[in-house]
């Protein structure tokens, strides 16, 4: 360990940059040390690079802790409006839930929620045929390489423009309202759902395709029976997922004026009616949450096929938090 020769250049030896040794094992050890040094250098460089990028980002957005501190009292005041306090039975302090309820009834928020859901359902259903067409045609298994690219490109371009921007583009066509939002979601679905279909088709097995081919089926029959029949369940699951996604999109489209719950939310924010705004947000959470729950349920039923435990709707609500966590951890 404390041999004389290694003592003077101990630091160099530590980093693996000392002279060649005689035994192959010692040489390998030196080599491994050197690799480790290089790896650490790169990691250090990466950390420094990210730190620079991060500080630039904070600077650009004007992030400031003092600002937060100064504004804190105002936010606390807003909080009491978000969650208006009251006392029940004369002594039990809690949030005044009735204020939300009264506003929900008065402003017909449930009707607004229906508009939001209607936008999502109509948009998904209208976009579905195009999504199916583009999704299937973009697959290399169906259309040979250079030709499938046109369909792929079309979907990429659609996806490059967010639904929020599609609404802006389509306003001259349908005005500012639920109709335009539906058109925007239709286009968004074509690009988004179509891409999911294509990805699903890339993973199908060759065996059944060959099996159908061996029966003397023609090309469209090979595609529908050999390929699409393999991914039928997955397609249904993706449609449920896209519907869930579109409900959230419909809410955000409402905020820029396309009607429904989002529109109501934005009106209350602009008029500083924070309690009423929170009433809208509570409905948003309930709406998005229950749609997600239903679609989650359907998808897990379809995906896991026969192994899925047959649980009732009540148990679904009980196990929902766990499932939502699982899905957000990437199990989806």
């Amino acid at each position: 360990m404390s041999s004389d020769s290694s003592q003077p250049d101990g630091l160099r030896a530590y980093f693996g940059f000392d002279e060649q040794r005689e035994s192959p094992v010692d040489n390998k050890l030196r080599d491994l040390k050197r690799r480790k040094t290089l790896r650490r250098l790169w990691t250090g460089l990466g950390i420094v690079g990210f730190a620079l990028l991060f500080s630039w980002s904070l600077d650009t957005v004007g992030f400031s802790l003092t600002e937060l501190y100064v504004q804190l009292p105002e936010f606390a005041e807003a909080l009491t409006e978000y969650f208006p306090p009251t006392t029940y039975f004369g002594f039990l302090p809690f949030i005044d839930v009735m204020q939300y309820w009264e506003f929900m009834v008065e402003a017909e928020l449930f009707a607004a929620s229906q508009v939001t859901v209607a936008i999502a359902i109509a948009g998904t259903a209208l976009g579905l045929p195009a999504a199916l067409f583009f999704g299937v045609m973009a697959s290399e298994r169906v259309v040979p390489y250079p030709f499938n690219f046109g369909f792929r490109m079309t979907m990429s371009i659609i996806r490059a423009i967010p639904a929020l921007v599609w609404v802006l583009i389509l306003i001259p066509l349908g005005g500012v309202g639920p109709f335009t939002a539906t058109l925007a979601i239709m286009i968004d679905t074509t690009g988004y759902l179509g891409r999911l279909f294509t990805d699903e088709l890339e993973e199908i097995a060759d065996g059944p395709i060959e099996g159908i081919r061996s029966t003397g089926a023609n090309k469209p029959q090979i595609v529908s029976f050999g390929m699409l029949s393999q991914v039928f369940r997955q397609f249904i699951a993706w449609i449920a997922f896209d519907l869930e996604h579109n409900v959230r999109v419909a809410i955000s489209l409402g905020i820029i004026g396309a009607g429904g719950l989002g529109l109501e939310l934005n009106i209350q924010r602009r008029t500083f009616h924070y309690t009423e705004m929170m009433a809208c947000i509570i409905l948003v959470v309930l709406l998005a949450g229950s749609v997600e729950l239903l679609s989650q349920r359907l998808r897990s039923y379809l995906r896991e096929d026969d192994d899925v435990e047959q649980t009732g709707i009540l148990e679904a609500f009980v196990t929902a938090p766990k499932k939502i966590v699982q899905s957000s951890m990437g199990k989806r």
């Binding site: 059944p208 061996s214 029966t215 029959q221």
Partner: protein, 261 residues
Amino acid sequence: MSTLTIQNLTKEYGSVTALEDVSFELEDEFVVLLGESGAGKSTLLRCINGLTEPTSGEILLNGEPIGESQPEVGMIFQQHNLVEGVSAYMNSLTGSLNRTSMLRSLFQWQPREDKQRALEALETVGLLDEAHQRVSQMSGGQQQRVGIARALVQDPTCLLADEPVASLDPSSAETVMSYLKKAARAHDVTALVSLHQVNIAAHFGDRFIGLRDGTVEFDVGPDGLTPGLVDDLYGNVETVGLATEETSSTTPTETEPEASV
């Protein structure tokens, strides 16, 4: 009633020759194709079915050359190649695709006789009661029998099977083979079945063709399959255990332990 004629069939994959000048003629027989893995059995069957294009030579069915993806030829695969997500009945019905238009097949508007034929084929392989079951829920042997049913619904004049029992346990293998033979006899078709298990082959075959390195090694009747022929065909494999002087040099696994001791 059918005649399958293979004339000077050759198939090359790049520089590798899978089949070399193979010729034989089959007429309403149950023929077993024997040979090592890589001897060219699968390639031969895929050529006859039209799934693979031969490099040269001719394949005639009842005197007519075979085209691409031939409905006259029913094929049974080792991995059954069924659509697992749908029922046995639906899979059996896909055998009728070649005589159904796209639209009709998509909405299941096949003629009633085709639907009956699909169920009759399942009855032939003993799966009528399970017709509604999804294929993914069935056992390997049952799946392979659905594969036979699908081939029968095609109403073929020639039936090919590529190692249909290779991934099955011995008892399921025998069940599948007896259904295959029964189906071939009932529909009066020529059957060409590639097999690994010599005992099963000997039990079911009317005639045996041995392939080795892409050429026909033997072509014999029911009494012709002698242990000597089989030993010749699987020569390297059979003699590994014996490790006699002339083979020891070609089997490095035999010599290596000796050297290390």
